[in-house]
C-alpha cells in the first residue's frame, strides 16, 4: 500500500513538474508547452479524428512488421534451438545480419522496395526479428535435458514432442523475445515514418516540429508512449495467461 502511494506520487511529481516549470517560464514554454496545453491539443486531435488516422496507419505497420518477424523468427528459433547442426550452419550469416542496424538498411530497402508500406514493414521486421529469433533459440537450448529424457521415455516423438515439450518449455524465453521485438519495432517505426511517410505517429512528431506546432509534437510523443505501454501490457498479460505455471513458481 505504502509503495502504491509512492508510485503514484512519483508520477504525480513528474506531471506537475511538466505543468509548473513551463507555466512559470522556468522552461521556455515555446519549446516545452505545459501539460495542460499538450493535453488540450491531444484532445483536439482526437476530436477532429486526425490522431486516429495516424494511430491506425502506425498500428498497421507494426502489425505487419512484427507479424512477419514472429512468423519467421519464432519457428526458425525453435528449429535452431533444437537442431544443433542446423544452428551451426546458419549461425555465421545470422550473426552478421544481426549486427546490421535496421536503420542502416533502410536506404537499401527503399532502393529495392520503394518508399511504400512494404519497405516500412520490412524494416520493422528486421528490427524485431532478432530478439525473437535469439530468445526462442536460447529458450529451447536451455530446456532441462532430464525433461527431454522423461518425455522420450513416454513415447513423445516428432510433432508431439515439439508441441508438448519444446514449445511450452521454451515459451517464457520466447515471450521475452517477443516483447523485446515489439519495443524495437516501435523505435524503428518512428524512424521509418520520419524518413518516408506522410502519415503515422512518427510523421506527426517530425512534421509538427517542422511546422512549429510544438504542442502537437508533444501530443504525438505522448501518444507513442501510451501506445507502447499498451502493447507491452497486452503482451505481458498474454504471457502471464499462457505461462501460468511460472506465476505459481514465482509465488512459491
Amino acid at each position: 500500500m505504502k509503495i502504491r502511494i509512492l508510485q503514484f506520487g512519483a508520477i504525480l511529481l513528474l506531471l506537475s513538474a511538466w505543468q509548473i516549470l513551463p507555466a512559470h517560464n522556468i522552461i521556455n514554454p515555446n519549446f516545452l508547452p505545459p501539460l495542460s496545453e499538450t493535453a488540450r491539443t491531444l484532445h483536439e486531435l482526437v476530436v477532429t479524428k486526425q490522431l486516429q488516422g495516424h494511430i491506425l496507419i502506425s498500428l498497421k505497420r507494426i502489425v505487419y512488421g512484427l507479424g512477419i518477424a514472429l512468423l519467421v523468427g519464432y519457428p526458425l528459433g525453435l528449429l535452431m534451438g533444437w537442431f544443433r547442426n542446423f544452428e551451426k550452419v546458419v549461425d555465421a550469416p545470422l550473426q552478421a545480419g544481426r549486427q546490421i542496424s535496421a536503420l542502416a538498411l533502410f536506404p537499401v530497402f527503399i532502393l529495392i522496395f520503394g518508399i511504400g508500406e512494404f519497405s516500412k514493414a520490412i524494416i520493422i521486421f528486421w528490427a524485431s526479428f532478432w530478439p525473437i529469433l535469439l530468445n526462442t533459440t536460447v529458450g529451447v537450448k536451455n530446456i532441462d535435458p532430464i525433461l527431454i529424457r522423461s518425455a522420450r521415455s513416454m513415447g513423445a516423438r516428432h510433432i508431439n514432442f515439439f508441441l508438448n515439450i519444446i514449445v511450452p518449455a521454451s515459451a517464457p524465453s520466447a515471450f521475452t523475445g517477443i516483447r523485446l521485438g515489439a519495443s524495437y519495432a516501435f523505435m524503428v517505426l518512428v524512424a521509418a515514418e520520419m524518413v518516408g511517410a506522410n502519415k503515422g505517429l512518427g510523421f506527426l512528431v517530425l512534421n509538427s516540429q517542422e511546422t512549429f506546432k510544438i504542442p502537437e509534437m508533444y501530443a504525438a510523443i505522448v501518444t507513442l508512449c501510451l501506445f507502447g505501454l499498451l502493447i507491452n501490457h497486452l503482451l505481458l498479460s498474454l504471457e502471464q495467461r499462457s505461462t501460468q505455471w511460472r506465476q505459481v513458481r514465482a509465488r512459491n
Binding site: D144, P145, I146, L147, I148, R149, S150, A151, R152, S153, M154, G155, A156, R157, N160, N164, I165, P168, A169, A171, T243, Q244, W245, V248, R249, N252
Partner: protein, 295 residues
Amino acid sequence: MASVVVEQVSKKYVTPSGDACLALQDLNLNIEKGEFFALLGPSGCGKSTLLHIIGGLNSADGTILINGEPVRGPGLNRGIVFQEYALFPWQTVIENVAFGLKMKGVPKKKRLQTAREYLALVGLSGFEERYPDQLSGGMKQRTAIARALAFDPEVLLMDEPFAALDAQTREILQAELLKIWEKTGKTIIFVTHSIEEAVFLAQRVAVITARPGRIKKIVDIPLPDQRYAEEDIRSSAAFSGVRHELWKLLSEEVVNSGALSGLGAEPSQTAIANPAVKQVLQPVSPVLQERGNDA
C-alpha cells in the same frame, strides 16, 4: 518367461577429455515377471546407465529383451521414474500423469479418468490441478510414480527415486511403493546406492562392481513380500543378516571404485549408505556426460 533379459550388455563412452571408458562390461540379468529387483552399487558404477539402457534412452552393445521383444528405443512398455522427478512444470499434476496416455493417443476424457485413478493410488487425490512447483519433494515423486504407472507399462524402472527426499518421507514412500507393487503386480527394477533401501524393497538385489560395472553377485532377500506390514522389520535378524552380507560385498567395491581414496578413511558403513557423502565423492556420472549427445 523372464520379463526383462539383459544379455552381454557393455557400454563404452568417451570422456570429455577424449579418453575411452568402459562403464558396463558383459552384463547379464534375468528378471522375472512381477519381480521387485534392485541394482545396488557404488556411485559411478553404471547402475543408472544400465537402467537408462533398459529404458531405451541410452544405446549399448548387447541385447535387452522385454517379454522377448528386443529394445530399440524408449517405449510405453517401460515407465521410468527419475531421481529428479522430471515432472513438466508447465503442466498440472493431472496433465503430467496423463502425459503418457496422451502420447498413446487415448482420448482426453478417458486419460484424465485414468490419471485420476492413479493419483488416488499414490494418495494424491485433490491435488489434480496443482502445478509441480506447488508440491513437496515427496508429492512430486508420488506424481512421477503415478505418471509412470498410468500408461500401464510392463516394467517400472526407478532410478534412485527417493535419494533426494528426507529420511522420513523416504521410508513412507518405500512402504507405499511396496503396496503399489503388490496392487499392480508390475516388474520393478530399482536402482539405489542404499543397502537398507535395497533390502527393504527388493526380492533380489544385484550388487554391481565398481567401474567397469559387472554383476558381482545376486542376493536373495529372505523377507516376506508384505514386509511393510511388519513392525520395525529393519531391526529383525533376517534384515540385518542380509544387510551385512550386502555391506561386505559393496564395501569392497567402494574401495575399488576409489571413491574414498584421498580421504584416508576406511569405508565405514555410514559413508556408504549416506547419500550426502556419496554426492560429495561421486565422480561425474556417465549419464551426465552423455547428456549433450542425447539432447
